[in-house]
């Protein structure tokens, strides 16, 4: 997959490198700000309450 992406990026190595960094940043941002916030409430971590009883 990574080889395929690298082959299809246009331009010389330096330009490819910059594009790669942009892609990594995009994917990270998507994960951090969209996917993880959505996913987190569904995971059994960080639950801090007990049932309110009245």
């Amino acid at each position: 997959m990574y080889t395929w992406i690298w082959r299809h990026l246009p331009g010389p190595v330096a330009v490819k490198l910059v594009q790669t960094l942009v892609l990594v940043a995009l994917v990270s941002a998507l994960l951090l700000f969209v996917i993880f916030p959505w996913l987190e409430p569904h995971l059994p971590i960080n639950q801090v309450t007990v049932p309110g009883n009245k």
């Binding site: 997959m1 951090l32 987190e40 971590i45 960080n46 639950q47 801090v48 007990v50 309110g52 009883n53």
Partner: protein, 283 residues
Amino acid sequence: MTETTAVAPPPATPERRPARSAGDRVRFVLRGVGQTLITLGLVVLLFVVYEVWITNLFAAREQKKVTQALIKEWQKENALALPGSQDPTVPIGTGLGILYIPRLGRDYHFTIVQGSVIPDDAQLEQGPAHYKNTALPGKVGNFAVAGHRVGKGEPFLNIDKLRSGDAVIVETRSAWYVYRVLGTPAGKNPGSVHEDVKVAAGGTVSLPGREIVDPSAGRVLDPVPDHDGMQPASALMTMTTCHPKFTASHRMIVYSKLVTKVANEAALKMPASVLALYDEVKA
């Protein structure tokens, strides 16, 4: 990452593309599997970064908003909807007081927000959240607050560091309430010491300073914690968080009892007697 590539044969020459042999196809598939596993590993690592760091950034913003709103409210002539004012109903999601814990440092302060009957994720991201149906700060009964242990501002990250007798301070518009973690003698692991707490029927019940309970243990929120149906005679405070860190398997509960109340004459300006509590934990 070498351990992942261990399953793959020695790397083929990736740039040249002659006609594919059977071996090439195997290499192709194995490389795909390896890269997928590495990618998943990186995504999991990134999730850890998100959980312990990024969520704190979001939560800090929420906490700041709610604190500023609270201070503004306190500066009003007729602040409504605050403990100590005429109408004690605090709207959900707004601040009701500020929490200080000397043991956790001079810079430790969090605005406690009004939560639902069970505080939800949005409220807990704002700050430690009050279980709506439990007592308000300083009132006889049980003032119960939930807070995150890891990430989301992590107000209760180091709550396991509290010792018996440690001060837990709650500032409302009307007063500074000083609670102390249950357990005698002071300075011990609160999970191993108990303290007698007065109840309305006369006599006392013995409560620990800290306990680890099942997630379903709503009894810790009772007016007299762990004693269903009993009427309280003391003002107690209960803090709940997750335990162990990062999990949902148990809850850590810390109990404290109101010992002093000092009138709040100037918001955010600690009276000398409250400030002196910080000297107790210098050791």
